[in-house]
């Protein structure tokens, strides 16, 4: 039993909710600010982050940016607007179609269809990041991250795109647990029920692209990461060897996305190597 990914249930939900809310409140105050801004896609992750932020700071201190592209899911935009309405927070709709299309132009690209799709997707994620950081300055608000632990570990995100933020309340919570958290927060069913998607192109699905379900991956990652079991030990517990290795490989290969850029050490004291202070230092 202890080897199973813990569930967020009615027993532990209150303290988790309190903890994540206080985290936002405390860290925002330490930055000398009062509010946050986040990208709200209408998916479960950003919705959960938004609910927690509204609880932590009050509805007047949370701003949601809805940043659709021309082929973004209309249903998701509706869901995002629903969350904005339910929480009573302020929001802006900023269509990013123009700048993305302007950059890529209409000329035929020699690259394959898949490659241009990924490049476009990355560009959208970074465009949204750039808009968020502009609003961060404009609204004197910290950018709230909305990446969950599963996608951070698998590297299923765009570096300096959706992975960029000042604070992330849900980065240590697996996707499977995000759904449980969403239920206890009272997130609308339409948001909980839809299949997970980065929505970077029409019909995109996380689980199709990854080739496995979050549920399968999360139970394995819980053992590999949280419990520090070696892959062979996880396999010995009855998990599929091929899947365990694939997941472990993805985690290793995406480590660069989770770290600051490497700096060539040349002086006696180098940033992030032996110049060691908390970010909360000041």
């Amino acid at each position: 039993m202890k080897k199973e990914l813990p569930k967020i249930d009615e027993h532990n939900f209150p303290i988790i909710y309190k903890h994540l809310s206080y985290f936002i409140k405390d860290e925002v105050a330490k930055a000398g600010l009062k509010s946050v801004v986040l990208g709200l896609s209408g998916g479960v992750d950003s919705t959960v982050a938004c609910y927690i932020a509204a609880n932590a700071l009050g509805k007047d201190s949370v701003t949601a940016l809805l940043m659709p592209y021309e082929n973004s899911s209309k249903a998701s935009l509706e869901d995002a607007l629903k969350t904005v309405g339910l929480l009573g927070i302020s929001h802006y709709v900023i269509d990013i179609t123009k700048q993305i299309n302007e950059y890529f132009g209409n000329k035929k690209n020699s690259a394959g269809k898949d490659e241009i799709r990924v490049r476009k997707g990355n560009k959208m994620a970074r465009e949204r990041m750039a808009v968020l950081y502009d609003y961060s300055y404009k609204l004197k608000s910290l950018v709230l991250g909305t990446s969950n632990k599963s996608e951070l570990l698998l590297g299923y995100g765009t570096i300096y795109g959706d992975m960029a933020s000042a604070l992330n309340p849900i980065g240590d919570i697996y996707k499977t647990q995000i759904y449980q958290l969403a239920k206890h927060l009272g997130v609308p069913e339409s948001i909980i029920q839809k299949p997970p998607s980065a929505d970077l192109w029409a019909g995109q699905s996380d689980e199709t692209e990854l080739g496995f379900t979050y549920e399968a991956a999360d139970s394995i990652m819980y053992l590999l990461i949280d419990k520090i079991y070696k892959p062979e030990v996880v396999v010995s517990l009855g998990y599929d060897e091929n899947l365990v290795n694939r997941i472990y490989d993805k985690i290793k290969k995406s480590q660069y996305k989770r770290r600051m850029p490497l700096i060539a050490k040349i002086s006696e004291r180098t940033i992030n190597i032996d110049f060691r202070y908390l970010r909360d230092w000041s």
């Binding site: 249930d9 027993h11 532990n12 209150p14 303290i15 903890h19 206080y22």
Partner: protein, 293 residues
């Protein structure tokens, strides 16, 4: 009845800001006086914050030097208000070693300093990178009650409380900076809190002592400290506990008549065979020596 009142100060220290923290301590010392407590206990490193990293270097104070004058307002408050104070700070010795220390100030003077012995250096912790381990556990007289301070990880080594109690401690004061971590299906608190509460209960029961736990709250780079400061009676029960994750204070009473009662009914400390323990430990150490040879 032999009783004393103690105020537990579950605070969120300002990271790396000695002056702000001293002000915070002074406010709570006044509060202790107001509420009729003769002692106020603050968490581990309450005057500096916990994950100091390289700022350990800036926080160190040699209490036998001019540097210690920064603490004068605390000494003065303890004298003027007749409230003793246990607080945590970064201590620097004459050879420039740093310690994770806690002092007890009473009537304007430092009457005890505990240097944390067991410095966790695994997982998220890196204390041994910066601090030198303390050399032992001492007991001191707190308004007629014999007390010993154990800091956080010290308590996770059962030998620490064994030593303190057999040296004569009636109250074990545990000051800590314990991060909230671990969730479990069906459990309404963090698993780290569960481990702590079980451990403290065992120590109180089997060492027939009062155990007072003062843990901090607040966040440092995303790591949240769990709070939940509490008092366990010598019967092993949690008499009262504070909220998790929230700043606050709680006044608790120590009644030595109850300790007397528990130690009479179950005289585990009286029956402890220190000679046997000594012999066995010598055996263990000698065997190690033989292996080394």
């Amino acid at each position: 009845m032999h009783a004393i009142n103690i105020l537990l100060a579950q605070i969120n220290p300002h990271i790396g800001d000695l002056r702000k923290n001293i002000e915070k301590h002074l406010r709570l010392i006044k509060k202790a006086k107001k509420e009729g407590a003769g002692l106020v206990i603050f968490p581990e490193l309450s005057l500096t914050g916990y994950f100091l990293k390289d700022s350990v270097y800036d926080m160190g104070v040699n209490i036998d030097s001019e540097e210690a004058s920064i603490f004068k307002p605390l000494y003065k408050a303890s004298l003027d208000l007749n409230v003793s104070v246990i607080a945590g700070f970064v201590e620097k010795d004459e050879n420039y070693n740093f310690y994770n220390s806690s002092f007890c100030i009473s009537k304007g003077k430092i009457i005890n300093v505990h240097r944390k012995v067991y410095l966790p250096t695994y997982g998220m912790f890196e204390e041994l990178r910066y601090f030198k381990p303390g050399g032992g556990f001492s007991i001191f007289d707190m308004a007629g009650v014999k007390a010993s301070i154990l800091t956080c990880e010290d308590v996770w080594h059962l030998s620490s409380s064994y030593i303190a109690v057999n040296k004569g401690a009636h109250i074990i004061i545990v000051n800590s900076a314990s991060p909230a971590r671990g969730i479990m299906t069906g459990l309404n608190k963090f698993t780290s809190i569960k481990m702590w509460e079980e451990l403290l209960s065992v120590i109180a029961f089997y060492y027939r002592s009062y155990v007072i736990y003062v843990n901090r709250v607040g966040y440092e780079d995303g790591i949240g400290f769990s709070g939940g400061s509490c008092i366990f009676s010598p019967s092993g029960e949690m008499e009262r506990g504070m909220n998790y994750l929230e700043e606050g204070t709680m006044k608790v009473g120590i009644n030595l008549d109850l300790l007397n009662n528990e130690r009479f009914k179950t005289p585990l400390i009286r029956d402890e065979n220190l000679n046997l323990t000594l012999k066995e430990i010598e055996g263990i150490l000698n065997k190690d020596k033989e292996i080394i040879k």
